[in-house]
Each structure stands twice: as structure tokens, then as C-alpha cells.
């Protein structure tokens, strides 16, 4: 079945440093979504990418979808303590439903 892996599994950064997490799928995706889960919370939708090579920005966050639609990345510039949490990518396969396969996640901790 489809597998979605993320690296790194954990990332500790000093506040103000940049952070990047990478997402790789074993199969071609119809779309990629990113979610953030704060400690003790539930996943919250951040963004969706659909087109090959697409790049989207949300303030300090930059999301990319690979040309082959099998990988994606999330980059955070100048991290803040509010960025703490686990970031999940989730791939859609567009087989007539909205089912997602979640990646393994990257847990980000910030050193003040």
C-alpha cells in the first residue's frame, strides 16, 4: 500500500532558526496536504497543494510540491515558540474519495 515518510522524525532548533521537513510518497499523489498538531491537540489543516511544482506561502511558512508529485517540503523561516508541534504531510490518491495517507510526522521543538 501507499506509504508516506517524513524526515527528520524530530528537530530541535533555536528560536529564530529555520526549519524544514521533507515528505516522500511511495506513489504519485493527486494532492498533498499539511497539518499541524500541537502537543495534546488534534491535527489542524494548514494547506493543500495540487499542481506539480507548486509553491505556496503562508507568512513564514513555505510549502512545495515536487515536480513528480511524490514529494513535498515545508520550510519555516525564523521559528517562533508558537511553531512547536508535529507537522504531518498527508497524501491524497484521488481514487474517487477524499481518503488521505498521513506521513510519519516531524516533531519540532524550539529552544528559547
Amino acid at each position: 500500500g501507499q506509504q508516506v515518510m517524513q524526515i527528520p522524525q524530530y528537530q530541535h532548533v533555536q528560536e529564530g532558526e529555520d526549519f524544514t521537513t521533507y515528505c516522500n510518497s511511495s506513489t504519485t499523489l493527486s494532492n498533498i496536504q499539511w497539518y499541524k498538531q500541537r502537543p495534546g491537540g488534534h491535527p489542524v489543516f494548514l494547506i493543500q497543494l495540487v499542481k506539480s511544482g507548486e509553491v505556496k506561502k503562508q507568512k513564514r511558512l513555505t510549502f512545495q510540491f515536487g515536480e513528480a508529485k511524490k514529494n513535498s517540503s515545508l520550510h519555516i523561516t525564523a521559528t517562533q515558540t508558537t511553531d512547536v508541534g508535529t507537522y504531518f504531510c498527508a497524501g491524497g490518491n484521488n481514487f474517487g474519495n477524499e481518503k488521505l495517507t498521513f506521513g510519519t510526522g516531524t516533531r519540532l521543538t524550539i529552544i528559547p
Partner: protein, 113 residues
């Protein structure tokens, strides 16, 4: 967007018993899903809850163990049957309103003793 509530928020149950988790959405959604998440781990899809018909289960999950109902577009239940300690986990429901984005409930933390 959609706001999703779940009941109960947490429970401690004895092995061999069953627990039904309720999921309520504040607006109609096309799709509803049930996930399981071990602390510190990723989300594993249990099944897609289909309105008025049998749920669609993922590999490794069966209806006898996780019966699901969805009588209308805004409500679904998941039952964890004949529980064992291995069923201890966080159970999350989600709903989809847009093309694919999903909104999650706060989760039900289940501990089986």
C-alpha cells in the same frame, strides 16, 4: 470550515467491554473518517464512514471489531468492541467539506485495563 465534537473525551474501560464514541459535525460534510493515533505516532485510518451504508474499512480493521454508523451527514459513531489493552489509543474523527481538506475532532483518549 467545520467544527467537530467528540464524546467522550476520554475513558478507562475494562478488557472485554465495548465503548461507543460519538462524532458530531456542525455542518454537513461529504465524507467522515475515523482514525487511530498512538501517542507520539502518526494517524492510521480505520475506516470511511458512509452515510446510510456500511463503512469502508482499511486493511487490518474489520467491522466486527470496529462497527461504524453514520445515519446522517453530520453524525457518526465508532464502537470499539471486545476491548483489549492493545486498543488503548486516541481515536479521532474527521470530516471533509472542501475538495479534500479535513477537519478533526478533539479526539477520544481510550485506556483499556
Amino acid at each position: 470550515s467545520a467544527v467537530i465534537s467528540q464524546k467522550p473525551s476520554r475513558d478507562i474501560c475494562q478488557r472485554g467491554t465495548s465503548l461507543t464514541i460519538q462524532c458530531q459535525v456542525d455542518s454537513q460534510v461529504t465524507m467522515m473518517f475515523w482514525y487511530r493515533q498512538q501517542p507520539g505516532q502518526s494517524l492510521t485510518l480505520i475506516a470511511t464512514a458512509n452515510q446510510g451504508s456500511e463503512a469502508t474499512y482499511e486493511s487490518g480493521f474489520v467491522i466486527d471489531k470496529f462497527p461504524i454508523s453514520r445515519p446522517n451527514l453530520t453524525f457518526s459513531t465508532l464502537t470499539v468492541s471486545n476491548m483489549s489493552p492493545e486498543d488503548s489509543s486516541i481515536y479521532l474523527c474527521s470530516g471533509g467539506t472542501g475538495i479534500y481538506e479535513q477537519y478533526f475532532g478533539p479526539g477520544t483518549r481510550l485506556t483499556v485495563t
